[in-house]
């Protein structure tokens, strides 16, 4: 009889081994890590109201962490020193592969992201295909809107940026790309359209100096994700907090506005299939990633 039990137990273990990951961990403090896509003080101003709201909506404690760069966010998340992270599209698919990240929520605008190609306002060329041999700048290498997706669409259109442009460089952020175009350091640059628009709106970018030449097709970008080890109830509480933001409530409206959103939507792993494909094509992700 004992043999039978051993066999049954082994079968059960065999059956579960692959599916079993660390579960049901509820940290005392939820550490939030955000993608350093902008200057640190700007990010703090943008995220502090949200963090306060999450605290009140979930009765959990939170801590905001702004890493030095994109890859250190990934490292923190992988090491478990970040529980809730705001990833860009590419960093998210990388986190899925490395640390079994689970998409939680994103802004309504994140589903319809676009990247804008910028040139001097005086330049009369209307399509990027006319910029052959010119100097060009992507955003940071791990940026979805500044590098990965524009590159993906270029290649899909049969244009290899390494061969097409005379020179190719990466800026440290979207605002820097816009600045480089503005001061003529590069002839053409590509940056996140939302940021570009906000730069125009804030007057940091002069529409007399720089103009949008072309816009990419829409793609998803930015997502809030948690570790798979996070307790399901905590995960659900966080999601409900995000989805509960009500634009008709003034405080909520303020938070949403700071995030540039009208509402938060639940996010699923399928939403980032396109980004994943682009990442594999760019060679920054292996084919056999976990979704």
């Amino acid at each position: 009889m004992r043999s039978a039990l051993i066999i049954m137990v082994s079968i059960t273990l065999f059956g579960c081994a692959d599916e079993q990951v660390e579960q049901d961990v509820t940290p005392d403090v939820i550490r939030i890590g955000v993608l350093p896509s902008q200057a640190k003080d700007r990010l703090v101003a943008k995220f502090e109201p949200l963090v306060d709201y999450l605290e009140s909506a979930t009765s959990l404690e939170f801590e905001l962490l702004i890493p030095e760069d994109y890859s250190s966010l990934l490292e923190h998340f992988e090491a478990g020193s970040v529980d809730l992270a705001w990833f860009g599209g590419l960093t998210y698919v990388q986190a899925v592969q490395k640390s079994h990240a689970v998409a939680l929520a994103f802004r309504d605008i994140d589903l319809q992201f676009t990247s804008c190609y910028l040139a001097k306002a005086a330049d009369t060329r209307m399509r990027i295909t006319e910029f052959a041999g010119e100097s060009f700048s992507f955003g940071p290498e791990l940026s979805t809107s500044g590098h990965l997706m524009p590159r993906y669409f270029m290649i899909e259109d049969g244009l290899d940026p390494r061969k097409f442009f005379g020179s190719l460089r990466h800026s440290a952020g979207h605002d820097q790309t816009a600045l480089w175009v503005s001061n003529g350091r590069v002839t053409l640059g590509v940056a996140n359209c939302n940021i570009v628009r906000s730069l125009f709106e804030s007057g940091e970018l002069d529409s007399d100096e720089v103009r949008i030449v072309e816009t990419t097709p829409p793609y998803p970008d930015y997502v809030w994700a948690v570790r798979t080890s996070m307790q399901e109830s905590t995960r659900q509480a966080l999601l409900d907090a995000f989805l509960g933001l009500d634009a008709t409530i003034p405080e909520h409206r303020q938070i949403l506005r700071a995030q540039g959103a009208n509402a938060y939507l639940p996010a699923g792993s399928s939403d980032f299939e396109l980004v994943r494909t682009a990442a594999v094509q760019a060679g920054v992700l292996t084919e056999d990633n976990g979704r």
Binding site: S3, A4, E19, G244, L265, G268, S269, S270
Partner: protein, 615 residues
Amino acid sequence: MNATRVNTPPVLRYIYGILAVIVVAAAVAMGSLYLAQRDEIETRDEVQGFHLESFSEVQHLSRELDTLRVLVENSMLAGISVYTGAAGVATAQISYTGILQSIRSRLMRLSNLQAQRKDVRSVATLERLTNRFSRIDRRLRIATPNQDTLPAIDVLASNAWQLSRLHTIAADTELRELAARQSQRPRFLAILLVCLGFSALAVGLLIFSLRTSLARQAETETALVEAHDRLHNIQKLDALGRLVGGVAHDFNNLLTTILGNTELLQANSTGDRELDTNLKEIRTAGMRAATLTRQLLAFSRRQHSERSILDLNELIHSMEAVLQRTVGDDIKLTCNYASDLYTADLDPGQLQQVMINLISNARDAMPDGGLLTITTENVAVSMGVEGIPDGDYVRLSVSDNGIGMDKHTRKRIFEPFFTTKEQVSGTGLGLATVHGIVTDSGGHILVDSEPGKGTRFHIYFPRADRPSENAKENQLPTVPQEGSETVLVVDDDEQVRRFVEKGLSSLGYNVLTATGGAQGLEICRREGARIHAIVSDVVMSGINGPRFMSGALRLCPDATAVYMSAYTDDVILWHRKGMDEIPVLTKPFELEALTRLIRKGLDQHDGTESSSEGS
């Protein structure tokens, strides 16, 4: 031999138990897998059903919220209240009422679906949506929309969007998980089957090796018991042989006296017919007793061989009547003799023994009668037939058409005490004796037999390079040989001594007697060359025959020597060592045989002397 029965030991039963448990576990595992799979299919259908239906309701809800927004926007633009509105806007009012009603029932349906499935991911959002709508619904029923109405409807639209996404994501996630589990199932199944297969194989091998080793152990034990039995039998045989040898020695001495005296009485017959008949009876009985003793000695193989060059045809021919009597009337005996048969160096008595044993064996193989054929032929063996060295042989074949033997029996028939006959009838020594005699004679024996196809024994005797001595023996006179020489007779058996003394004296010999070796040597020393022949027993108390003889022949170097033996081990030993060329007369013997040997020795001696004198 008893058939070996291997009982199932406890360890084997334990292994059988494990095997049974493995099989049951496999069945349970497969059954569980099947049930799990069925459950998963049901769950999948349920998940799909719930999420698809909810999703569809939410899509409708979104469109209805869009419509509501347009209506609210229009009425705000028109600056009219839906409920207090002026005439001519009845259509708008109807639409308002209808769309609100539609949204209400839509939310009710979603709530009902949620109650059935209790989806934790969407329940809070649906509640929020329902509560927010209730507020708008209440307001729109009692008052005109204000500037907050449109943003509130926008939030409802966002909530609906959230809800539809929650359902698609949940369906996607759940189905993906199910698919992942299902995709792993064949692997688990394969691993499970492989594990179970290996376990079963291992257990099977274990059982097989255990069974094999148990069977081997049983076989070894049986062989050991058999070997022990054989050893025991050999020891018994040895003891029996010693007993028989001892008895035969004394018995033969007695027979020598009986037969010898009878012979003397017959020689001095007075013509009394009744007395002659009685003497003949005594002699016949004595002869039969002598034959019996010889047979006893043959079984115990304590018989020393007196080999001579034989013509097998002649010898077997002389035995035909005896052989036919042995096999009985139901068996037809046919003898095929080869012409110009080679001679062989054999003891005729032993050959007779071989024939009797083989014939008896054949008789027992044909309980209902049959054909028995004895064949002699010349055979030249080349390229080694079954281990027989190349050369010329006389082949003696004894064939029957009896029951035959299987391979197992065929392999063991020459083992002592191996018998297929019932314990009372067979001694198990017959064929063993045959084998012993044939082998001792430098011959080979082969057996060819199959069940139901009879048995053929082929005995190969090496060809002798001299002509047969049978004829020579036959030419010798059968009457006692007279003489006048001095003969010294040494035997510790008084009766034998007296018979020999009387017999030789009656034939004219001058007989001196001694009761043992010491007295015999004394006589030799005293008489010296006057003694022409010395006849001595072999086994005597004090100085034994050979020791006495060697001393005596030194004292009387010209004397002819003859041993009288009662078939003891010592004679065989002395002969085997080749230490003695002195002829042995086996007891009981007739006076004629003794005088023939003495006469032969004396005459040869005379011949040598005369030839040396003549040279």
